[in-house]
Amino acid sequence: MTSYKKYLNMIPIHLVLIFFAIFALIPIWIIFISSVKPHLEVYKNQIALPEEFKFQFYQILFKQGYYKNFLQSFYFASLTTLITVIISTLAAYAFAIKIFFGKTFLFVLVLIGLMISEISIIVPVYIMITDLNLQNTLLGIIIPQVALGLSFGIFLLTTFFKEVPKELIEASVVDGCDDKKILYNVILPLSMPSIKALALIEFLWAWNSFFFPLVLIQDTQVMPMSVRIIDFMGRYLFNYGGIATVCILMFLPIFILYLVSQSSFHRGITLGGLKG
């Protein structure tokens, strides 16, 4: 009887969990379902299935060249991730393995960097990018985006690299390995999951990034998807289906990445958070 009672007790708990799961999923469902509805049906019931599935918006968007902005987002996020991961790996290697003058001071600077957001540096960055004539270029948004993500990258990878057993590194030194060999043959193979986690998070941040592109890019051909959506909304305010379609297109790659590598995402987010 006790197990029966135990199950009975679990029912309210599951109800709470299911409630919050539905809460999480409803807006995503609405965006998806609105993108395949005939134009005016969105005004009836936002969560209902359409009477007839229509994919007209997807075709229109492709014809209007929105795939270009999609590619821009992809280049922006990939390059940002690549640069951030490389620079962070090198710096984290020094922070985790080596002892040197000024280590604490430099690491405190990295921690301060964690607390800086777009708002804190936008004005000088805006002036610098304009002076360098990098407005309306991908490079002009990659540079500040890397600056924001770098502190997190160094911090996260330092935490992870410290978990590599010291004995292993000492043994490699005795065997005559230099820095390059230790990094390539000892640290990197053992830390691949962590680097993957960092890459995913940086990619997500850059892909969803909005403030820098909004301020630094006005040319619709160069804009990443995030800012192009706003441009689209300004032109077709009441075209819900069209807006939903652009949103789904922007969300889909991230969603797929998340589905295939959830554990890496979780690892990066939680470890980055906790050790802080």
Partner: protein, 289 residues
Amino acid sequence: MTLLNKNAYFFLLPAIIYLAIWLFFPLLNNTYLSLLNAETARSRDYFFVGLDNYAELMKDKIFWRALLHNIIWVILSIFFPLVIGLILAAILYNMRSRLFYASIFFIPHTFALIITAIVWRWMYHPKYGLINQTLDNLGLGFFKMHWLGNENTALVAVNMMGSWSYYGFCVLIFLAGLQNIDPTLNDAAKIDGAGPIQRFFKITVPLLKNTFMFLVIWTIIGSMRFFDLIFVATNGTPNLATDITGLYIYRLIMQQGRVTYAGTISVILTLFILSMSFFVIKNLMKEND
């Protein structure tokens, strides 16, 4: 091991140069800019004005109101996503299906904030929106409201969007924090006859204090990042009831061309965030001793 400690700066150099130019120089330059002004907006002939910008800031009602909204945002976020996240994590902790649920709760966090704003704006639509329609169907029609158009509800309604994207993140962080807690503590309390609610308040909550404080700092920093959300959801309307400091800076740069004054605000905000964070961290360290 001395051999190993060589060349440290070689590895650090790219990061040091990059952060110096693109993060710390802007921070300092910002402070310098805040002491300048131009004859007309958009002109780039700056001249030194001392603390004039700060004097103006002190009297700037729009700024203080926006900052107040930032603070309200943080407080609301501590109440809803953080507390809900804590409770959900405590429930999930002993369950086999915890990763399944945590993964679902986390999906909104991968949603771009602008998309979050777009879809929630539809859900808040006074006539066709899901929220008002649901209230109607439940016979609660008298609760219906123009959520985003009403000065009293707009900020809370927008914060709700932020909470939706944030609570799954809190669940994950709390779950990770719970995994660091010694499970025998809970078992011992169980044997001593403590109920689940008692155990939650007497064991889980005190031991998760560090995690909680971390999330508070993260929320303070994050309240500056919710620019995207508010920019798309309300852009400060109605009547600046949802204006936050980020939006004000954006307007100053892009619409009014008052770059140095925007820099002044950003200096104050940065100091505000850093001092709040250090205050929280310091208190944490004191109590851990």
